[in-house]
């Protein structure tokens, strides 16, 4: 193993790590990324076989504890009503994500100013706008310009089709006078930059065999590697080390044979996601940082935001065939996005239409919820639901609360013996009220669309896929972990670029904003290379 020192060491090859590596490749620095997982082979994704849905629920499960790959780390979720979902490999969570690609709104960066809660961000929408646009081009975003819920923006590709489910729900939103718009989706609806067009395989959340979905293993990484970045897989980092000068000087990691290695570096960048990053920081204990690296504020791991979801599905008399087409990407509504205190809560949520669900998922969900019985009634109940269901998820803005946090589990460890994260999370009263509101409004629109039955799960237990806030940005070192440029207040050459640094969570999926922020931090670093450690 060649562990020669590098200029820039990135840990984590997911959404943020890939965008950052690609941008920093301009500098011609020696850049290395350590990633605990492996490269994926799209020819082996579940949709290439008849057993695709079964594989989706097992080795491609969202839940790392169910998936249990050697490249995963376990997560103790027993103290949380929402279970952590992720993927560990080149591309990170984007391998399994649904590719919904909304940006944060201008007000999302000004929550205290607008609504008197949480904190404002030290950056704003206008500053990030060029990086959102650059990222949309790199990820290949489909959508439609002109959405009144957003400032004007260009969209590189035409929108995903409405399909029968989208058309029905769009008409119902119109009937109620509520906003809807085709979802911004990182999905190639036309051939794009070497990627083939979407052929409507169905659940994008088990990997896209067609290569139409913008996961960073096929967007940023090939470009970054071509430009000289090195990516080392099966390299699981145990801790960031610090020198006598208090600066980070490298990382201890385990290679694929479980052998301990040390990689020296001049600058260390963390991109392990909102759970993996605080876990690594808390595991990086030294004389100087007895509570974990860059944790003099005690904020590392705190303020965990998960975006509670309401999942509300309706059953329709006619066949919609929503099992085909990008399941998660169709249309969305931001009618209830901005604060209206008359609703009984602050902030808001996005409704994202789910076209439908595959046969096995329909059966398993129905059997679990009691909608489908064992016995002679199985067929009638299954037939009523399968290909006849459409609905939505509501994504709620989750406000930061110090007691919602990631700690190290005293017992649970990964395959290399590294302490695993434990999640401590409770729903706030604000979120509870928002969930009730979202379920009621979703039911209303589904009924308007003609649903004969409506079934809700709120919060949706499996939906802990947006992990934010656990090493937050801010100007006050006593209340935050990194500054406005992603640099740790306590360690001048340690940067964090993933969702951990979010100050608040918005009410939309975070990846577009995570990556725009990573590109913005890279840009700042490039402009300031000569004085990086001042």
């Amino acid at each position: 193993m060649n562990n020669d020192p590098v200029d820039l060491l990135i840990i984590g090859a997911g959404a943020a790590g890939a965008a950052f590596a690609w941008s920093m490749a301009d500098t011609r620095m020696r850049i290395l990324c350590l990633e605990q997982g492996e490269w994926m082979n799209p020819a082996q994704y579940p949709s290439t076989g008849r057993d695709g849905e079964l594989r989706h629920l097992r080795e491609f499960s969202f839940n790392p504890n169910v998936r249990g790959r050697a490249t995963d780390y376990p997560v103790n979720g027993s103290a949380s009503p929402i279970q952590i979902a992720n993927f560990n490999g080149v591309g990170g969570g984007t391998v399994l994500y649904a590719a919904h690609f909304p940006r944060f709104h201008p007000s999302d960066f000004r929550v205290r100013t607008c609504d008197g809660v949480a904190d404002d961000w030290p950056v704003d929408y206008a500053t990030l706008e060029p990086f959102f646009a650059e990222n949309d081009r790199m990820m290949g975003v489909a959508g439609l310009a002109g959405d009144p819920a957003y400032p004007p923006k260009a969209v590189p590709l035409p929108p995903v089709p409405l399909g029968a489910s989208g058309e029905r729900l769009a008409a119902a939103f119109n009937q109620l006078g509520w906003h809807w718009w085709p979802s911004d989706s990182a999905i190639a609806t036309r051939p794009y930059e070497g990627r083939d067009r979407c052929v409507n395989l169905g659940p994008c959340t088990s990997g896209c065999a067609q290569g139409a979905k913008g996961s960073t293993d096929i967007t940023y990484w090939p470009e970054a590697i071509r430009r000289g970045v090195q990516l080392r897989t099966r390299a699981r980092v145990r801790e960031i080390t610090v020198g006598a000068d208090g600066m980070a000087n490298g990382a201890v990691y385990y290679d694929e044979h479980g052998r301990e290695q040390f990689q020296a570096a001049h600058v260390v960048v963390l991109a392990c996601n909102g759970i993996g990053t605080p876990r690594l920081m808390l595991n990086s204990v030294s004389g100087r940082f007895p509570n974990g690296i860059a944790n003099s504020s005690g904020q590392v791991g705190r303020n965990l935001m998960l975006h509670p979801y309401a999942s509300v599905m309706g059953t329709f008399p006619e066949r919609l065939d929503g099992q085909f087409g990008p399941a998660g990407c169709c249309i969305w509504s931001q009618e209830f996005y901005e604060t209206d205190r008359a609703r009984g809560f602050v902030r808001g949520y996005t409704m994202e239409i789910i076209r439908g669900r595959g046969a096995l998922t329909t059966a398993m969900n129905g059997l679990a919820s009691g909608q489908i019985p064992w016995g002679p009634g199985f067929h009638e109940a299954f037939g009523r639901l399968f290909a006849h269901s459409a609905g939505m998820v509501a994504i709620l803005e989750d406000l930061p609360e110090a007691h919602n946090r990631v700690t190290l589990d005293p017992v649970l460890k990964d395959g290399d013996g590294i302490p695993a994260p434990a999640i401590h999370y409770t729903l706030s009263e604000n979120s509870r009220r928002m969930l009730d509101h979202a379920v009621a409004r979703a039911t209303e629109v589904l009924r308007a669309a003609g649903a004969t039955e409506v079934h809700a799960e709120a919060p949706w237990r499996a939906a802990g896929w947006h992990n934010m806030g656990t090493a937050r940005m801010g100007s006050d070192p006593a209340r935050s972990v990194v500054d406005a440029r992603g640099r740790a207040h306590d360690v001048k050459n340690l940067f964090i670029i993933d969702g951990s640094i979010f100050v608040t969570s918005g009410g939309v999926n975070p990846t577009s904003t995570i990556q725009a922020l990573a590109l913005y931090i890279a840009d700042g670093m490039k402009r300031n290379l000569a004085n990086l450690f001042d």
């Binding site: 076989g49 939103f173 085909f324 067929h379």
Partner: protein, 161 residues
Amino acid sequence: MSDTSAAPAAPAPPPFTAAERAILDALMDLMIPASPDGRMPSAQSLALYAQTAGLTAAEAATFRGGLADLDARAQAARGAGFAALDPAAAQAIVAALRAERSAFLHAFTLHTAARYLAHDAVMPLIGLEPRASWPRGHAVAEGDWSLIEVVRARPRLYRAV
């Protein structure tokens, strides 16, 4: 290219014994019998567990342990093997497993539903072509985009800050 997405390359676990298959048949008859109108076949009639391919070694072990446990429960309650129980007695044992959140019952339900719904004989009956999704994919209608005009005409919804 290394690859964690490949299906497990391990050989299929040893086949189920005749006694194990008899219990599986009885369970399948409880879960997915033929439809009352005869249109949909029963899971048992499709011999879904004639092969163990698709089960990991750990899942096969869960199955074997669960089947033995079912028989033991049946013997204790009725002095007969599970396959010989009348449906009501068998249902009672399944209900107990459900209440205990049995890992075996979950694995059985998952694999039975998966094998049944992806079976050549069943897919056309639920409106699906008997093939994998990729590479041919599926057609999805564009839908009526004129619906958007009323939304496009709305005033700005986002807050200026």
